[in-house]
Symmetry: C2
Subunit: 268 residues, 2 copies
């Protein structure tokens, strides 16, 4: 999907919501467990109920891999079910040497037809650039994450510069691609940091997890992170998909997504 197509959808739906499909057999409504593929059944109902309000879906690979090969089948079926005009994010956080990265890119961009993949930057340039060779596809690089452990290494100050590790990661890796094939993961829980990164990268899209369950505020995120043409995709997983555990789970998920979309509309 191109940047223009993504923007078109954001403007049409007045939304920049990504729904995280962290589908866990121990958390989905029990009546689904008797179906042939409970993970897919759950996702299907969630997608039907939220697709009007969401511009992206983000399956978290761990929740599929835990079911082995069957999980990859659920994932493929889910991807095929998502309407083609909605942006798809494989939240896989891959990162390896050059020839292995090319294989991961083929896995997610060709074997499966995801629009984008999250990537861990620790191994440097050849762990990122192979993904940029695929037209219409996106590398979403971990910049500053919002988990507790983010402070351990990302936040360390570098010698002879006023930069932290994550700032160097963002600045350096941004040279390898463009705002039309790269995005960054930036956590929602630190608005000042978000503002700083926006100043560094005025045009790039940021994928922002951590609103809701992890404690980030949508208003703070919008005020500190938006660009002149939106520039953010805000993800909510548990707050939407596990808002209810009854047979009405999908309808409630749809309401939660609608509420978020209504809030987002005000900032566009």
């Amino acid at each position: 999907m191109t940047r223009e197509q993504l923007l078109e959808q954001i403007n049409k739906k007045k939304s920049f919501l990504s729904v995280g499909l962290d589908t866990d057999l121990s958390k989905i409504p029990t009546h689904l467990l008797d179906t042939e593929d409970p993970v897919f059944e759950f996702n299907k109902e969630i997608i039907d109920a939220t697709k009007e309000f969401a511009v992206a879906y983000k399956p978290n690979l761990a929740f599929y891999e835990v079911n082995g090969a069957a999980g990859w089948i659920s994932l493929q079926k889910t991807l095929d079910y998502i309407p083609k005009d909605i942006f798809t994010i494989a939240d896989a956080k891959r990162g390896d040497i050059g020839n292995t990265s090319t294989m991961y890119a083929k896995a997610f961009f060709e074997t499966m037809d995801f629009d984008s993949l999250t990537i861990a930057p620790y191994m440097g340039e050849d762990s990122i650039t192979p993904y940029l060779a695929f037209e219409g596809k996106w590398a979403i690089v971990l910049g500053a994450t919002s988990n507790k452990g983010a402070m351990d290494f990302q936040d360390l100050m570098l010698e002879m510069s006023s930069e932290k590790v994550f700032e160097r990661v963002i600045k350096k890796s941004a040279e390898w691609g463009t705002h039309e094939n790269m995005m960054y993961v930036v956590g929602a829980t630190r608005p000042k940091l978000l503002m700083k990164i926006r100043a560094m990268l005025p045009k790039h899209f940021f994928l922002i997890p951590g609103v809701g369950a992890q404690g980030g505020s949508l208003e703070a995120v919008c005020k500190s992170g938006m660009s002149s043409d939106c520039g953010i995709i805000v993800n909510s997983s548990r707050g939407i998909i596990y808002a209810d555990h009854s047979k009405d789970f999908a309808a409630i998920a749809g309401e939660k997504a609608h509420q978020l979309q209504q809030e987002m509309k005000e900032f566009l």
Copy 2:
């Protein structure tokens, strides 16, 4: 697998060889392509021919994921085929927030029964510690890799210390586990660095890729990286599994593994 069991095997086989199963449909002998599961057929013959000389097998996940769900079936069959006394490494380089890490740990340690998993440290403590809660299982953390991009971020010097990023990663993360549930990936191409890391961690095992195709020397690796009780697992992938492309590929792979084992014996 416990550290003792691993050492027992190293001593019995006089080897610290890991065979990397980077099985690529475009590189395996063409006569295998007509079989039902060419990736598994290839791995099976490679395992039969090398198991006498190898103490570990390391499938690289990218090469399985590129085949989608079918790739995960090949991977599961391969894992089941590896003799139980041989150490298994899922070279997956996962790394995510706490609850997601737990799901990855379950995927590789329970759904599949791997002994260990490679892990990317960018997201810090909660991206590593969940793996350490599984008895007899190992987290193999990326320390200093041997690819070109390793220089981009791992090698940056930190302020107010004489440490580089990778040194802090190793030192800090080593506090979260022990030499009985953590190892480190350290590239083979920089012996001085290997020596430095060995001085920091006298007891931990290092998983060392990069000997052979990537240019590292076994002798240099042994002299600079071994501990008092071996302490290294040296991986070779392409140099063994793609040494030959004819119907004799497995026999030739066995010879290559045997040669490496004979060289390794001298250093034990």
